[in-house]
Amino acid sequence: MTAVGASPALTPAPPAAPAPDAGAATRSGLRFQDVTVAYHGTTVLDGFTLEVAPGEVVALLGPSGSGKTTALRTAAGFTTPLRGRVHIGGRDVTDLPPYRRGIGMVVQQYALFPHLRVEQNVAFGLKAHRTPRAEIPGRVARALEMTGMGGYARRYPRELSGGQQQRVAIARALAIRPDVLLLDEPLSALDAQLRSGMLAELARLHRELPHVSILYVTHDQLEALTLADRIAVMKDARLVDCDTPRRLYRRPGDTFTAAFVGQANLLPVAVEWHDGSVSLAGAALRGAPAAGLAPGDEAVLCIRPHLVRLGAVGGRNALAGTVADIQWRGAGHRLLVDLDTGPRLTADLGELRVPPLPGERVTLCFDPEDAVVLPAAGEDGADG
């Protein structure tokens, strides 16, 4: 689908010899430094600090209204921060208009220019950057090749499918060889099947562009987990957590992250001891300990549904309850169990030979390694 050999033309020339003493600012692809944005007195982004290294993909993940799009728009220059600075490629761009920032941007609705052919769309940025005329056709062709749209150069956007339009939008953003690529929910307008295809495609593009920093705004945890080197979780205008997908998933820092990145059972417990011992309405359980919790504190035990097992192994971490509902979900069964101790637990199990019926008594268990004890956080205890 793509000529990989074409990629060097698209990537910014790698520095011949990276200066060993180059400070963080010069290495940084994109850096937010304590950025605060407010509209009409409402703070929509609060003290946001984040760095995206060259070649790194950082996903901004959060529910709508959490400030993730504002962060992206501030990087692009469409929103002026009240406070804080934005650096791109080591340059302070806070006061620069969007057209002087050297960014590539792809938005949800593609925003292709409907009156321009595909090749003219891709050439738009090159012309705006006053690229020598002779270079333009070659660079347009390479950008289209790279996204697998080489055969569509003469088409108009309306003659393309949604997925193809998105490829053109990406080619258009890449053609100007940006240091930073901003992707604002680029896949959310596509249907599920196309989306997973495009996700793989984006991952491949990223491998071919080892020097481009990518900021990827999404509310879809799967996109974030698949694509990102790091995930920045946002909530209520703030950055609440930022780590590699694996760490965020295995060891979320709080109940919000636990519920938002992947699904989670959040059981209200009381801390018994520093080693991760807790009690759920008197029943003793054990999870991986989290720092900052003292015996007697209220806490939340977070268990991923697919790490819950049926039956009791060695009698540890056993939870008895009554089956409230059972759903067959193709790959396996989902059990909703009302625990004797109160809360309802979701368990995603493999396909069961003899599935229990609603009303039947069952015992569930989990490995202490697979559960995390988190500080209780009031209203966020929603089940993912």
């Binding site: 220059g77 469409f78 208009p97 969007p98």
Partner: protein
């Protein structure tokens, strides 16, 4: 969002004001100012009076105001009926008839009003329909001229209607007449009121066809304003013009109010 630098924005706003104020705002202000003028020797009126307005309340001026208001009322209602009916009929008919209706009902917009006046004069100056010199011919002219606007507005409003609403009404067993009365017309009410307001305003200001047709006992405001300014009574003309603007605005505001109320139903 398009112009990012504050200085450039300020420059555009300044230029905007420099264009809008002398071209649009100042002329209207001057009419109001002149309507109070008693003498105008230098750059601005040197003496003021409310006499021009006092004159409005009696005699010819009052007649003209009443004439204009009644003409606009009759023409507006007639245009709304005919134009609205035609627009509804256009929806229920085939593509070719719809195009024909569109073409014919928009035609008065293309034909100069003076020619509409001339045409009525030519057509109705001899028996069997001798209307020349009557009030009716003025009313007819106004109706013809504003019907296009009524047709256009209602037609556009029908295009914006969600067909699902009427379809569900019909699906619930309502016969067409009931769908029209209970669903379509109430939904169109805001647009109908707006269309009436527009027709009324246009009829209030109609001069061209009226100049061709008006009988001596039916002089609407615009004709009276022309007569006043033509004989040099500019300030009286200005006062009459302010009366014309004010009454038009009152009706427009009233229909806008009705419209908001109707659209909250």
């Amino acid at each position: 969002m398009l112009v990012h630098s504050r200085a450039a924005r300020l420059a555009h706003w300044t230029l905007f004001l420099l264009l809008v104020v002398p071209v649009f705002a100042l002329p209207l202000l001057m009419v109001v100012g002149a309507s109070f003028a008693d003498r105008w020797d230098g750059a601005l009126p040197s003496a003021f009076t409310a006499a021009h307005y006092a004159d409005l309340g009696r005699g010819q001026s009052l007649d003209a105001l009443v004439t204009s208001l009644s003409t606009a009322l009759v023409a507006g209602l007639a245009a709304l009926t005919v134009g609205g009916w035609a627009a509804l009929a256009a929806r229920g008919s085939g593509r070719r008839l719809r195009h024909l209706l569109d073409g014919l009902f928009m035609l008065p917009l293309a034909v100069p009003s003076v020619v509409v006046g001339l045409a009525l004069l030519v057509a109705f100056s001899k028996p069997p329909l001798l209307l020349n010199g009557t009030t009716t011919i003025v009313l007819l002219a106004h109706t013809v001229l504003v019907t296009s606007f009524a047709y256009q507005s209602v037609r556009a409003a029908i295009g914006r209607l969600d067909p699902a609403l009427e379809q569900s009404a019909a699906g619930l067993g309502a016969p067409p007449a009931q769908v029209l009365r209970r669903v379509t017309l109430p939904l169109l009410l805001p647009s109908l009121t707006a269309a009436f307001g527009l027709c009324f305003a246009l009829s209030m200001g109609e001069l061209s066809a009226t100049m061709m047709l008006y009988p001596p006992d039916w002089l609407p405001l615009p004709v009276r304003i022309f007569a006043a300014t033509d004989r040099g009574a500019l300030f009286t003309g200005a006062a009459l013009a302010v009366a014309l603007i004010a009454s038009t605005l009152v009706v427009l505001a009233a229909t806008a109010r009705l419209r908001t109320r109707a659209s909250y139903r």
